[in-house]
């Protein structure tokens, strides 16, 4: 209790001090990887830079990179709050309980936790419907593969990742009934060496398309070395590997959201929200589809992007069965957000088990 009080009063003092000084809004970012990862953390940092570009001298941003998911994250968040941050973005799923803990101690500071599900009066959660991008990816992958084996480097068996696998599989299968997915669980978001090993193993098993849910460009490099393997940029455009092996990408665009939330704090209109935006809102972008993709496939993919964006088409539309053969979605039925948010099963046709 005493510490809570002490922290709160310190925050108050710090808060008063900053408001008195220049009315600058201070925004903190906690990153799980290095800002130079070229993927997940890189895009969050692009969002931070967009906030700086938008508000200029009215904001001050701070960030700490490579923060392990545990007590260190809690300390870094507390440190930012003590130093007068008004708004703190915690950009990894594993920061969830820490964000809630720190938010309790600093009721005046607003927190935004990426990809989690726990909210509070001063904690919002936000995530992107990456699975919409996966649908487009699956379509292109299904058309591009000649060996009919698509490799998938998965990170952790959490719903977000499983959704991506399912979405890509459904749409690859739709255009290529013979397609088969080989999935390797890397148990990391960012580890170039492990990711490269996984990519090589998949290529050796005959995969000529590699999809990744990890953040480094190592799989791109491995595919480039192999010569005839197609890849997609993950989280970031990874355009340095275009036009081949990288033929397209899923881009996380956090900038509009970060700007909007910072603005809300400045205006005093911030309130708890649970945001899950997709291609339509611009949170998920599809990187340019390179000329190595046949023109008709490209046109189909672009049409799918359009219909996903407008909401005419949902990436999970029935008829769909679960892996065990039981019915999931009836003809024309679309998945509800609750099921998607907690997805822990494969759809019919995927070989292997969700690690358990």
């Amino acid at each position: 209790m005493k510490l809570t009080k002490l922290l709160a009063s310190a925050a108050l003092v710090a808060g008063l001090a900053t408001t008195a000084m220049a009315e600058k809004t201070k925004v903190g970012f906690v990153y799980v990887g290095p800002v130079g990862d070229g993927g997940w953390t890189y895009e969050h940092d692009q969002g931070r830079k967009a906030v700086v570009a938008e508000f200029g001298d009215d904001v001050e941003t701070v960030y700490v990179e490579n923060v392990p998911e545990g007590p260190d994250a809690e300390r870094v968040m507390t440190q930012m709050a003590l130093e007068g941050a008004d708004l703190i973005f915690t950009t990894s799923f594993g920061y969830m309980d820490q964000t809630i803990n720190v938010a309790k101690k600093f009721p005046k500071v607003k927190f935004e936790h990426a990809t989690g599900y726990k909210t509070a009066d001063n904690v919002s959660v936000y995530s992107a419907r990456f699975y919409e991008g996966r649908a487009v990816q699956g379509h292109i992958a299904g058309k591009m593969t000649e060996s009919n084996i698509i490799g998938y480097i998965a990170s952790f068996p959490i719903p977000e990742v499983i959704r991506g696998i399912n979405s890509a599989y459904i749409h690859a299968k739709k255009v290529n009934p013979d397609v088969e997915f080989k999935i390797i669980w890397a148990y990391t978001w960012f580890d170039p060496a492990k990711e490269a090993d996984a990519a090589k193993a998949l290529i050796e098993q005959g995969a000529d398309v590699i999809l990744q849910h990890t953040d480094s460009t190592a799989p791109q490099a491995a595919a480039q070395a192999a010569g005839n393997v197609v890849t997609f940029g993950q989280a970031s455009d990874m355009s340095e590997y275009a036009p081949f092996p990288r033929v397209s990408s899923i881009i996380d665009d956090w900038a509009p959201y970060y700007i909007a939330r910072t603005k809300a704090v400045m205006d005093g209109t911030w309130s708890t929200a649970n945001t899950w935006d997709g291609i339509g809102a611009g949170m998920v972008g599809i990187g340019e589809i390179s000329d190595r993709v046949p023109a008709d496939v490209k046109a189909e993919a672009m049409a799918m992007v359009e219909s996903l964006a407008s909401g005419d088409y949902h990436a999970f539309t029935g008829p769909l069965k679960k892996q065990d053969g039981s019915d999931w979605l009836a003809e024309g039925e679309t998945a509800d957000d609750g099921t998607l948010a907690g997805m822990n099963f494969y759809v019919e046709g995927i070989v292997g088990d969700v690690p358990n």
Binding site: A10, R75, P355, N356
Partner: protein, 360 residues
């Protein structure tokens, strides 16, 4: 010309001085590094070393030093026993993980029962888990003569896989919406390793670390076993003639370091970390090796070295956010510390001679 001349005996004075000099040289070299990155070196060094201790928010950071330093000290004390006798347990990280898993499993088995016996049981199983994991390389060494460095290190990766499997399967929170990770001990009173006095950072793990320092000091200085450990490290042949049983020594040193690492894991998982999760381990087991050497394998030295290491972590994070220093620069800075310490070790064993040209 400069010559290195071997000292007949390692210099006690230099052995005590080198860690201090290493810290100072690291500050200078680190300052140059920070200056090259366009930051004010004095401000950077002040942010890392001074602010957490005496800055505006030191009331928060000082307790954090104990939270961060506690597990480092606890593990390093265990490692130092073996290192003194030339027994190299490099796999404390794995023992830390397995201790955490076993201790957490013992606690979760009782959920949601509240009872005062649960936490002591968890402590017991935490130590046991670490002990068993360390016994694998120990027994392989005494039975088959395998190299404990390789086996204990490889078992770290096995432990990491085990941790992932536990977080996703057996110990997964049934109310966690399918997300990996166990229940949070912070909301399970009987099993929570909470702060003993709010705001001090003192939890049972820190207390255990202090107790380990005292016991290790007594063991090494007053007990025949400690004498045997030191003797084996300094003069293996003499130890053999003196009747020291190498098998028992290996089992004791590996077992003690494993049990302490397991304890550190348990206290961390039940306290600051709060849950078994895939990324639970953050390298304490490896950093503790640095701490053990930085502390000259001496209990009091390790205590200070653990706190110093914790300081560079906490100060490093502050420097990142307040000075926008990249985390890589902080890591280089920490690496320098070990580098200079080992480099300056030359002075403990050698004397520098400046020979005159005429004589040569």
């Amino acid at each position: 010309m400069i010559h290195l001349e071997k000292r007949p005996q390692p210099s006690r004075a230099w052995a005590l001085m080198t860690p201090v000099i290493a810290v100072i040289v690291t500050m200078i070299a680190g300052g140059l590094l920070f200056a090259a990155l366009g930051k004010n070196p004095i401000e950077a060094i002040r942010t890392i070393f001074y602010d957490p201790l005496f800055g505006e928010f030191s009331f928060y950071y000082r307790p954090q030093l104990l939270v961060k330093g506690g597990p480092l000290i606890l593990i390093a004390i265990g490692l130092s026993l073996g290192f003194r006798a030339g027994i190299w347990n490099i796999g404390a990280e794995g023992q830390y993980i397995v201790g955490a898993i076993c201790g957490a499993a013992a606690g979760l088995a009782f959920y949601p029962m509240e009872s005062i016996v649960i936490f002591p049981l968890m402590i017991f199983f935490g130590a046991l888990g670490g002990l068993i994991w360390a016994m694998i390389p120990a027994l392989l060494k005494v039975k088959f003569g395998t190299n404990e460095i390789l086996v204990s290190l490889m078992l770290v990766y096995v432990a990491e896989q085990l941790l992932a499997s536990m977080s996703l399967g057996l110990l997964k929170n049934p109310e966690g919406f399918g997300f990996p990770g166990s229940r949070n001990f912070q909301s399970y009173d009987s099993a929570h390793n909470a702060e003993l006095i709010t705001g001090t950072g003192m939890h049972w793990g820190v207390v255990a670390a202090f107790i380990a320092v005292i016991f290790s000091y007594i063991l090494l200085n007053k007990h025949i076993l400690g004498y045997n450990i030191r003797l084996t490290g300094e003069a293996p042949r003499a130890a053999r003639f003196g009747g020291v049983n190498p098998t028992r020594l290996v089992l004791f040193c590996m077992g003690a370091s494993g049990a302490l690492a397991g304890l550190a894991g348990l206290f961390e998982v039940a306290g600051p970390a709060g849950q078994v999760s895939i990324d639970f381990n953050v390298g304490y087991g490896f950093t503790a090796i640095i701490v053990a050497f930085l502390g000259r394998l001496h209990p009091v030295g390790i205590l200070l070295a653990g706190l110093l290491m914790a300081l560079t972590y906490i100060g490093g994070d502050i420097a990142q956010s307040s000075l926008s220093l990249p985390s890589a620069a902080i890591q280089v800075f920490q690496g320098m510390l070990l580098f200079f310490l080992l480099a300056l070790d030359v002075l403990t064993n050698f004397r520098i001679r400046f020979a005159t040209k005429g004589a040569a």
